[in-house]
């Protein structure tokens, strides 16, 4: 089952205005992604970790997400140190380990983890529905936002249909293996999912027409900028500026 384990918490961060959180996370991500100085990157990673601590989300869940990202980064560590020309750090057998490659791999590791943690702490702590409304209020195009919300709504229905199909195959003795039958069965399941999703889309559209849909969506959610949100916005902006200054002055 697809779930949103972080969205249901009750920390201080959960109570902050979603618009502030979205805006600041975007700004912060850009700054971190564009920074190259190690002190800046380490500071950012620390800040992200502090945010995770404040948001009081399940550390286990956070780790399980970090593993996914860091497996990808591990692949970079296997390739980058050996592919850059420059100062040779050491040799492993016939291969030379180049300093610029190691530096780049380290930067990418720090950046990705800092950004990932910030997103978990600030964005994953709101439901996708709230995120959609926040994006809309921040001026994201209406169509994109509703594509997001509709996908979110129906991904669960499609998942259910997928599970139903797989169950139907299983109770008739289907065991996945490396053979033509398995590939054909999966192809049927995927094909069926597309057909059903299309039919579903058609019916949902009909249901919307029946309720007077004329191409416009309305949002009912009201956001309130409380004192805590303002305080958080000011502190975060100050920290982000400090990071920028650190980056520029060292470079």
């Amino acid at each position: 089952m697809i779930s949103e384990p972080f969205a249901t918490g009750v920390s201080m961060i959960h109570r902050l205005d979603p618009r502030i959180r979205v805006g600041l996370t975007v700004l912060y991500s850009f700054v971190v992604a564009l920074a190259y100085q190690f002190p800046v990157l380490i500071a950012a990673l620390s800040l992200s970790s502090i945010l995770i601590a404040i948001s009081r989300v399940s550390i286990k869940e956070v780790f399980s997400r970090m593993v996914i990202v860091n497996v990808l980064i591990l692949l970079l560590w296997l390739v980058l140190p050996f592919t850059f020309n420059g100062k040779i750090l050491t040799r492993i057998g016939p291969f030379a380990v180049y300093l610029p490659g190691v530096v780049l791999a380290a930067q990418i590791t720090l950046k990705s983890n800092a950004i990932l943690l910030a997103f978990i702490a600030l964005i994953a702590t709101m439901s996708l529905a709230t995120l959609g409304h926040a994006l809309r209020r921040l001026g994201a195009p209406e169509k994109i936002v509703h594509l997001l919300l509709m996908t979110y709504r129906y991904i669960f229905v499609i998942e259910q249909e997928y599970l139903r199909l797989i169950r139907a195959a299983k109770i008739r003795g289907f065991r996945p293996g490396t053979n033509a039958n398995t590939y054909r069965t999966y192809a049927y399941v995927i094909g069926m999912l597309f057909v059903r999703a299309a039919a579903r889309a058609e019916r949902v559209h009909q249901a919307m027409l029946c309720r007077g849909f004329n191409g416009k969506f309305y949002s009912l959610q009201e956001f309130q900028l409380g004192f805590a949100s303002w305080a958080f916005a000011i502190i975060m902006t100050a920290i982000i500026f400090a990071l920028i200054i650190m980056e520029l002055s060292n470079g």
Binding site: S127, L149, R153, Q206, M208, C210, R211, K216, L220, Q221
Partner: protein, 259 residues
Amino acid sequence: MDKNDLLINLEGISFKYPGGPMVLKDLDFKLSRGNRIGLIAPNGSGKTTLFHIIMGLLKPFSGKLEIFGKLVREEKDFADVRRKIGLLFQDADDQLFSPTVLEDVAFGPLNLGKSKGEAIEIARRTLNFLGLYGFEDRITFKLSGGEKRLVSLATVLAMEPEILLLDEPINGLDMKTKAKLTEVLSGLDLSYILISHDFDFLAETADAVYTMEDGRIRLDKELHVHEHVHAHELGTYPHQHDVSEDKTQKPEVRRQKTE
């Protein structure tokens, strides 16, 4: 009978899906104000198709559709039909597409041009009317099957329609939710058509029961002998006597096309 009391008038409607056989064949049907009609017929006999034609979601092959005394033909004619007729879909997941219950119920009123405040007010009132207290911020896809059905009904009722078309409303519901729906329908001051396979449910909620055969609607004309030894139309369905006899004698019901 006053002409204004004739709400839906279908004449000679024929329809077929591409590559399929004729689903509706020269179908005539009338719904008058206050009618509560049950439709019971085998799967695939065209009940849902009929509803979709009334709502303008499917275009009939031939025939004439008059709704509220006006001929409807084009998509823009149906825009008006849709605000006055509420269709409850067979699958609640088709009907509920907003993230939260309140947003979904308010969707219709907002499309009718109500302000945000009014729409929320209507949505709250409708939810409370159906006994769905505290459902506003629930996530639609996390509701149970019965809750989804009731919320779907709320989304339809929030449009304040004059006619309801209910497509198998109690399919897959437990006894409690079924009883709840029966109670709600009995308390509504609306004309409606109900598709259902449940005789007991129709007996409680419909004044007349029709069936569909060969692409047409007909009143079950056979005489059925049943336990307290007398016979008349609809005798196969559980009923209360004074009610069913009275209502089936209505002239406009008699006028339905029969074989």
